[in-house]
């Protein structure tokens, strides 16, 4: 088998096999946090940190982890990094910790993280696994930011809390609530798929 290279891994995670657009993973948090860019960014950074280091650790221990209990050990490793983030935010960024509330803890249940540990880190070298985790997280962040951009702009008339829409702009209540993320995510997947198909057609 050909050894995957850095660029190849990055393109896969960001584009051709993007965890949200193609694998439809990590949808719960996509729906939940994306009505506000600030929360989205911090949540996504937390996911990038966790996928990177859980991938790193799983890869480091891959020869030692018994096959039967590997998923339990992966969960332990993921939970470890998420709790580290939670404690660090509470100690040094209490305002952000307050704003995110329970969502930091819920990073543990983000399917992308365990997915990458199972599908990649378990059978690849340490450095490449770290890179795979980082780029998977970045692929997740990119899609979330697109969704959050439209939801915050139309739902609140702001971006990162700064007023963009003119005074008197009627905000779209549905953009604040979770269902709008379904519609927006659907549109994003549709657009990306069309672009991909067109590229494929041009190539053949």
């Amino acid at each position: 088998m050909k050894k995957p290279r850095l660029a190849e891994v990055a393109i896969k995670n960001l584009w051709t096999e993007n965890p949200i657009l193609i694998q439809i993973l990590g949808i719960c948090s996509t729906l939940a946090v994306t009505n506000n860019l600030t929360n989205t960014s911090i949540m996504a950074l937390g996911v990038i940190f966790t996928t990177s280091f859980s991938n790193f650790t799983v890869s480091l221990l891959k020869k030692l982890i018994p096959h039967q209990v590997r998923m339990i050990i992966q969960t332990l490793i993921i939970a470890f990094f998420v709790i580290i983030i939670n404690i660090t935010l509470k100690a040094f960024l209490p305002q952000i910790s307050r704003a995110l509330g329970p969502y930091v803890g819920l990073i543990i249940t983000n399917c992308i993280i365990m997915g990458r540990a199972e599908a990649f880190a378990r059978s690849n070298p340490v450095g490449l696994s770290l890179w795979d985790g980082f780029t998977s997280g970045a692929g997740y962040m990119a899609v979330l930011l697109i969704v959050a951009f439209f939801r915050e702009l139309l739902g609140f008339g702001t971006l990162y809390g700064f007023r963009i829409m003119p005074e008197g702009f009627v905000t779209w209540t549905i953009m604040v609530t979770a269902p709008s993320a379904f519609f927006l995510l659907g549109v994003v997947i549709w657009v990306m798929k069309s672009v991909k198909d067109r590229k494929r057609k041009e190539r053949t």
Binding site: V33, I65, I73, F80, K90, A91, F92, P102, Y103
Partner: protein
């Protein structure tokens, strides 16, 4: 090494759990003081905000709180008193059930409990961008100087942009978060009843 054996599996799982939890315990111990300082500070700041006592920095907030605000206990209830230009303001930290978890708030009322001075949220676990908006300033501003209605209660009405009439004993709910808003209304009214009990009135 045979990583398939039962003994190895059990020993590995035990050792791995032990090491990861030990590391977590270490990190937790290192930052525990900082976290409890932050929590104390967030209580102090919330009480000052609710009592409408201005401060510029965290240090000033702590100084003002320890110098100007008196902590009292009566009927087994802890509450706070502050004197401003001959008028007494009472404050209380109270908690209750939100939609997803516990909401802890600070409320302050005037001397005869007819008017709210203010409200601040100390901690909440509501949905970010929806219920968590109870912590936004436009929402909390609705409570500032709000005259209390019949029985010294506040009413949470329909979702809206924020009720600016401070004489009607009513605040607007948050759009898309009616349940959190309703729960907050229950907690605020419960806090007001608790303060009345502490001050010797009929609950």
């Amino acid at each position: 090494m045979n990583t398939k054996g039962k003994v190895y599996t059990v020993v590995f799982t035990f050792v791995a759990s032990f090491i990861f939890i030990l590391l977590l315990a270490l990190v937790d111990t290192l930052v525990a003081d900082q976290i409890s300082r932050n929590e104390e500070l967030s209580r102090v700041r919330a009480l000052l905000n609710a009592m409408n006592i201005p401060y510029a920095t965290d240090t000033e907030a702590l100084r003002l709180f320890h110098k100007e605000v008196t902590a009292l206990t009566s009927n087994g209830i802890d509450y706070y008193r502050y004197e401003r230009n001959g008028e007494t303001v009472y404050g209380l930290i109270h908690r209750g059930d939100g939609l997803w978890g516990t909401i802890t708030i600070a409320v302050a009322v005037n001397q005869d409990l007819t008017r709210m001075i203010g409200l601040d949220v100390i901690s909440q676990n509501e949905t970010p961008g929806l219920g968590a908006r109870i912590d936004e300033s436009w929402f909390k501003a609705q409570f500032q100087g709000e005259r209390l209605g019949a029985g010294g209660r506040l009413t949470v009405g329909e979702p809206g942009p924020g009720d600016t009439d401070h004489g009607n004993g009513k605040v607007d709910a948050i759009t898309g978060a009616s349940l959190t808003s309703r729960q907050l209304g229950i907690i605020v009214n419960d806090a007001l009843a608790t303060l009345r009990r502490a001050l010797g009135g009929a609950g």
